[in-house]
């Protein structure tokens, strides 16, 4: 089945919109992929990725790294390649990490799950990314494209 890319975030909360922003670019350069924007409740992801072999989730993160840093976490068959992404990737109603953990508890993770995180700073009300985050969008796009490879 076609890989799925999920851009998580709220475009009206400044840098929180980075996930949807990257999703827009993916849609443009890889129209063969399925791309979804998600704001609010991340538990919807369990249905979105049902039956998918490969899912890439793009979200705003705050790990303490410099703003604009891009991260990638990979879970194969539910096992993370290194330390898992931070537990508070976002605080959407059910956040991304919570949705992933919920899926794991219910044996509903896709075989390969990639989380691409962009380190953000400004989560205030309003549209538009801050400079360092806007500059990181291309790097995040590269990570997504590397993750999906030629599949699809």
């Amino acid at each position: 089945m076609t890989p799925l890319v999920v851009g998580v975030g709220n475009r009206t909360r400044r840098d929180d919109g980075v996930g949807p922003e990257v999703a827009d670019l993916v849609r443009r350069v890889r129209p063969d992929l399925d791309v979804v924007e998600l704001s609010g409740d991340a538990s919807s992801m369990l249905e979105l990725w049902s039956g998918r072999e490969l899912v890439v989730v793009v979200d705003a993160v705050r790990t303490g790294a410099p703003t604009g840093s891009c991260h990638r976490w990979v879970a194969c068959s539910g096992a993370w390649d290194a330390v898992p992404p931070p537990s508070r990737l976002s605080s959407h109603l059910v956040g991304v990490r919570e949705a992933i953990d919920l899926a794991a508890a219910l044996d509903r993770l896709p075989p390969v799950l990639v989380v691409v995180g962009v380190e953000v700073t400004d989560l205030g009300v309003g549209a538009g990314l801050s400079g360092a985050v806007a500059a990181a969008v291309d790097g995040a796009l590269d990570l997504v494209l590397e993750s999906v490879g030629e599949s699809g």
């Binding site: 709220n10 609010g40 409740d41 109603l93 219910l106 989560l123 309003g126």
Partner: protein
């Protein structure tokens, strides 16, 4: 950590509340001396953004305010603008709107009951821990939520931020076959929702009596979702939605960025408890019977029992959706024509969390001159604060961890929604 005058417990998390904000409970000896709640950001950014935009834009723009209840924003804004333009959307188009709204209620209530609120009653930190021990139950909740998502996809165009809603109706009509193919799922959902009522009715629900007035839309022969009349527990008079602003007054309070609302100068509550208590007789019979079997009376003022009321409303929404799908006959056109004109319009609908009011002023070209949005959580903030005071006082002998958990549960009773904000709630208990 310790302060010089006393102890501060900084929990810094209210993970199962959507949004950003802070709560501080101050206790002196055995007495609660202050509760300050700042959980709501008013949608001023959106009100400003709407000025100068065209009359067809508010449904799409305001849907962005909340990822959980976009349909509520679309419907309240459409109703307000249609009033200005002298348009009435009725018949099957109104039925489709109600169906879409039922999808949102199903999705939102299933999420809150199963993943956010039930863990409080069953002693889990959250839905994930609960899922490990109650897998079948959580799967049932997720499947119910999925039924709501599917309805929103079919009628609204997509599940998150539906794109098919417009002033005057819809851009296109839903696929009839796809809609009818939902009937088995909706039949299952009705049974699952009935099981949900029985399940939550068995929880150990703390006693509590909320002291606030109740405000909701008045049902017009059916349980209220959209309407033009407002009822309250305080007075027998029905208030036209045009007079909302004359009764509901928002004012600044010192400790909060948010506005605190009162209705005729009194603290009031909107949401499931208000809807149920004021319109219980309009529930579908199966939901009314389930409410009675669950031990709910004609009125419910216990916020901790809101999970039961939400389950009854979940059953009502599933039952209503099934009826609407069965009775649906495609109308001749997906929308009625809307010609802009100058004026002021008011729209209100019952978001899952309570009454959502919109007011717009248009010029003769249909340009938005002014917009006011009063969401349910901002209206409830004062009631939640009052409630927390009582809950904290009743539990003052608990240790900080237990008291914090009880206060968090009390906040979740209201399913507060803070516009898809991105920060957690900073909850502090301060003992002097």
């Amino acid at each position: 950590m310790r302060e010089t005058q006393g102890r501060v417990l900084d929990v810094a998390a209210l993970a199962r509340v959507e949004g950003e904000g802070a709560m501080r409970v101050r206790i002196d000896g055995d007495t609660v001396v202050g509760v300050e709640l700042d959980i709501y950001e008013p949608p001023r950014f959106f009100e400003a953004l709407l000025r100068g935009r065209g009359y067809e834009e508010p449904p799409d723009i305001t849907a962005r305010i909340c990822g959980i209840c976009p349909v509520a924003y679309q419907m309240s804004s459409s109703l307000a603008i249609e009033q200005i333009c002298g348009v009435t959307v009725d018949g099957q188009l109104a039925a489709l709107r109600r169906l879409l709204y039922c999808g949102e209620w199903i999705e939102s209530h299933a999420l809150h009951i199963y993943l956010l609120h039930a863990p409080d009653f069953l002693g889990y930190d959250g839905g994930i821990a609960m899922a490990r021990d109650h897998r079948d139950v959580v799967e049932r909740g997720l499947r119910l939520k999925q039924v709501g998502n599917r309805l929103m996809e079919l009628v609204g165009g997509r599940a998150v931020h539906p794109v098919n809603v417009r002033v005057g109706g819809f851009y296109r009509l839903p696929d009839l076959d796809a809609l009818r193919a939902m009937i088995p799922d909706l039949q299952w959902a009705c049974g699952a929702a009935l099981d949900t009522v029985s399940w939550v009715a068995g929880f150990d629900i703390p006693d509590h009596h909320g002291e606030w007035d109740l405000v909701s839309l008045a049902g017009d022969g059916e349980y209220p979702i959209m309407g033009r009349r407002i009822v309250t527990s305080a007075a027998p008079d029905v208030v036209p939605v045009e007079e909302f602003g004359a009764h509901a007054v928002e004012e600044h309070v010192a400790h909060s960025n948010a506005l605190h609302a009162s209705w005729d100068s009194r603290t009031y509550l909107v949401g499931p408890l208000a809807r149920y208590s004021l319109n219980q007789h309009l529930l579908p019979p199966v939901a009314r019977e389930a409410a009675s079997a669950a031990g709910l009376g004609r009125e419910c003022r216990n916020p901790f029992a809101s999970i039961v009321v939400r389950a009854v409303e979940l059953l009502a929404a599933c039952t209503e959706a099934l009826r609407l799908v069965r009775e649906y006959e495609p109308p001749g056109a997906p929308s009625v024509p809307v010609v802009p004109r100058a004026g002021v319009g008011h729209g209100a609908s019952e978001a899952p969390r309570g009454l959502l009011y919109h007011r717009y002023e248009l010029d003769e070209r249909g340009i938005v001159l002014d917009a006011t949005i009063v969401p349910p959580t901002s209206q409830n903030q004062r009631a939640i604060e009052r409630d927390l005071w009582q809950v904290a006082q009743a539990g003052v002998s608990l240790d900080d961890a237990a008291l914090t958990a009880r206060c968090e549960q009390a906040i979740r009773n209201y399913d507060p929604c803070i516009s898809c904000a991105t920060h957690e709630l900073d909850l502090r208990i301060v003992r002097a």
